[in-house]
């Protein structure tokens, strides 16, 4: 199913990035997708399940979290971080700034695990020689 993805800051994302981005706490704070309960029911997932978020640039597995803040079905939120950035488009339309909020993504349930930071880097960008 298609959704509009918003990225942004959260207090936990800000707090745990200061604990170092290689920690589990940081991963738990940013490798999550907040969704409206109606949307979760539509794609058949429950709080804490894994989902695959797909764009034309790639896909990433994150955990789904029921949002109390998103009031409109069709809009999902993922905090800033390497997980969401690994699927974002790089086009800047001559401004130097890619569009990091409000673009279309496809979301589907998955049984694949959420990769930790090292697995994510290895899978997305390969190993450094």
């Amino acid at each position: 199913m298609e959704f509009i993805l918003i990225t942004g800051r959260t207090i936990d994302q800000g707090k745990f990035k200061e604990h170092a981005k290689i920690t589990e706490k940081y991963m738990e704070s940013v490798a999550v997708c907040e969704m409206h309960i109606d949307d979760m029911m539509k794609i058949g997932v429950r709080d804490g399940d894994n989902i695959k978020v797909i764009t034309k640039d790639g896909s990433v597995v994150v955990k789904v979290k029921r949002s109390k803040r998103i009031k409109t079905p069709g809009v999902v939120f993922i905090p800033f971080g390497p997980w969401v950035n690994s699927i974002l488009p790089s086009e800047t339309e001559g401004t130097g700034m890619p569009q990091l909020k409000g673009f279309k993504v496809r979301i589907e349930p998955t049984s694949e695990p959420v990769p930790d930071i090292k697995e994510l880097l290895l899978k997305t960008y390969g190993s450094k020689k």
Binding site: T7, T10, I22, P82, L88, Q99, K118, G126
Partner: protein, 478 residues
């Protein structure tokens, strides 16, 4: 035990300078007055610290000496034909100044993190100017405070308390009491709705809202808080008025407000999902306030429209000055991103995305900006200072960044450092090294050194000076 007072927080653009840090045997044991983000930085900075210079050999990062790491970094930069020097917003102005000198020496491109935050705001300001002020003026005088596409509760937690709605100004009262009453009212409403859900057919929806719930605007003489965003953030819970805009609809709403404050009628029921009555009410508030301010965040710069959204917001502010005093300010993220823009401009004439490859500074965001250079695959080496582009850049840009020789100067092992060829640990600016930072309203403030860095770990400015010296040695420049 030593209590260091008047410490500046090196986290966000608020640059709160009233922190008290308690130090015992060179260890920070407590911090007072900081928000959750600032406290996290002071209390955790030493936990996952990298203290050893690293160099990549046979695919693995292994320990090396500082001299070797600096020599290798200088060699990479000196041999590159188009190196990218990126980061700079989490370090001191003194380090940025040396970085600019280094960029000129190696004929590279130097860009700071505003390229992926308020770069579009800078483009808009260069088009139409900006009516700005200091945060002190807002604290003492503003009676209408608008946050547009910004969630200070999460990104700048003390902004409301130190500078705007919740601050006690000379001519404006803090709105704490009102927000607490609203909180109590809201929790009573939730209890009533839950009870109604159990009793009434149709549940809570059958219970009409009370007049108090419908509109809880303070009396005209009190300062008001308006939040405009695509979702009801925690900041919106504090607001007197919350306006929910459809994603990508900010430009439409801004232009509709420009029309409404000129008393023009709009022949539509809604604009980007916002009922026209709500916009008319906001336009009335704007025109009738005595001193208004719009703080705008990445909701405008990262959404479709980008610099045009900011341009429309500035033009709205300009139009409002025909009726009253109105100002506008970007909510800057990193503690010294404003300083990076200022030092870049002093030294080169341009605030970010500066290209020295022709021997003189050129500026053309979209061409000379970091994301575009990396996405095209133009750069052939990179030096990253106090930043983590592997976490904050989009995929294609990162794919090309990690392919090239990559040097990272950072106190922590970031995802970018994990993919680097040379890693040089540096002292935490504002904790282990002093310097200067600029607050989001362009006020320069001193950063304090409150603890000694680990043995052998130098501040960014000193590391960069040594790299610059080595580059000049390689190039035979005295």
């Amino acid at each position: 035990m030593q209590v260091v007072s008047g410490v500046l927080c090196p986290f966000c653009g608020c640059c709160c300078d009233d922190l008290e840090v308690i130090v015992e045997n060179n260890t920070i044991v407590d911090v007072r007055n900081a928000c959750a983000l600032g406290a996290s930085k002071f209390m955790e900075y030493a936990t996952h610290r990298n203290t050893k210079p690293l160099i990549r050999k046979n695919g693995e990062l292994v320990e090396t000496t500082l001299d070797e790491a600096i020599k290798q970094c200088a060699k990479i930069l000196a041999e590159a034909s188009y190196p990218l020097l990126y980061g700079w917003s989490n370090t001191s102005c003194e380090a940025i100044k040396v970085g600019l000198e280094l960029a000129e020496e190696v004929g590279g491109v130097i860009d700071n993190t505003s390229t992926v935050c308020h770069g579009p705001s800078i483009l808009a300001i260069q088009e139409v100017g900006i009516p700005g002020c200091t945060l002190g003026q807002i604290r003492h005088r503003a009676d209408l405070i608008i946050y547009w596409g910004s969630n200070p509760w999460s990104a700048h937690p003390r902004h409301l308390e130190r500078y705007t709605a919740l601050s006690e100004g000379r001519f404006q009262r803090a709105a704490w009491k009102r927000y607490l009453s609203r909180l109590i009212l809201e929790s009573a409403r939730k209890r009533r709705y839950r009870a109604a859900g159990r009793v009434l057919k149709g549940g809570a929806a059958a219970l009409p809202p009370t007049e108090e719930e419908r509109r809880m605007l303070p009396p005209p003489e009190e300062r008001k808080l308006v939040i405009i965003d695509v979702q009801k953030t925690r900041s919106a819970d504090l607001a007197d008025i919350f306006i929910k805009v459809e994603p990508g609809g900010d430009y439409d709403v801004l232009q509709a407000l420009r029309a409404l404050i000129r008393d023009e009628e709009l022949d539509v029921d809604r604009v980007a999902g916002v009922p026209i009555e709500e916009l008319e009410e906001l336009a009335d508030l704007m025109v009738n306030c005595r001193f208004g301010i719009i703080f705008f965040g990445l909701g405008l710069t990262m959404s479709v429209g980008k610099s045009r959204n900011v341009e429309a917001a500035i033009k709205l502010t300009r139009d409002l000055n025909m009726y009253t005093k109105f100002l506008i300010m970007p909510m800057r993220g990193h503690f010294n991103v404003t300083g990076a823009n200022i030092v870049f401009t002093w030294q080169t004439g341009y605030p970010y995305a500066v290209d020295f490859s022709h021997g003189y500074p050129r500026y053309n965001p979209g061409e000379t900006s970091a994301i575009d250079i990396l996405s095209r695959g133009d750069a052939d080496a990179a030096l990253i200072v106090a930043s983590d582009p592997v976490s904050s850049f989009p995929r294609r840009a990162v794919e090309n960044l990690v392919k090239m020789p990559l040097v990272v100067i950072d106190p922590c092992m970031t995802p970018t450092a994990l993919m680097a060829d040379v890693v040089i640990p540096s002292a935490f600016v504002g904790i282990e090294a002093e310097g200067t930072a600029y607050r989001m309203d362009h006020v320069p403030l001193p950063l304090k050194k409150i603890a000694e860095p680990p043995k052998g770990v130098l501040p960014d400015a000193e590391i960069l000076q040594r790299i610059l010296h080595e580059v000049r040695e390689i190039k035979g420049v005295s």
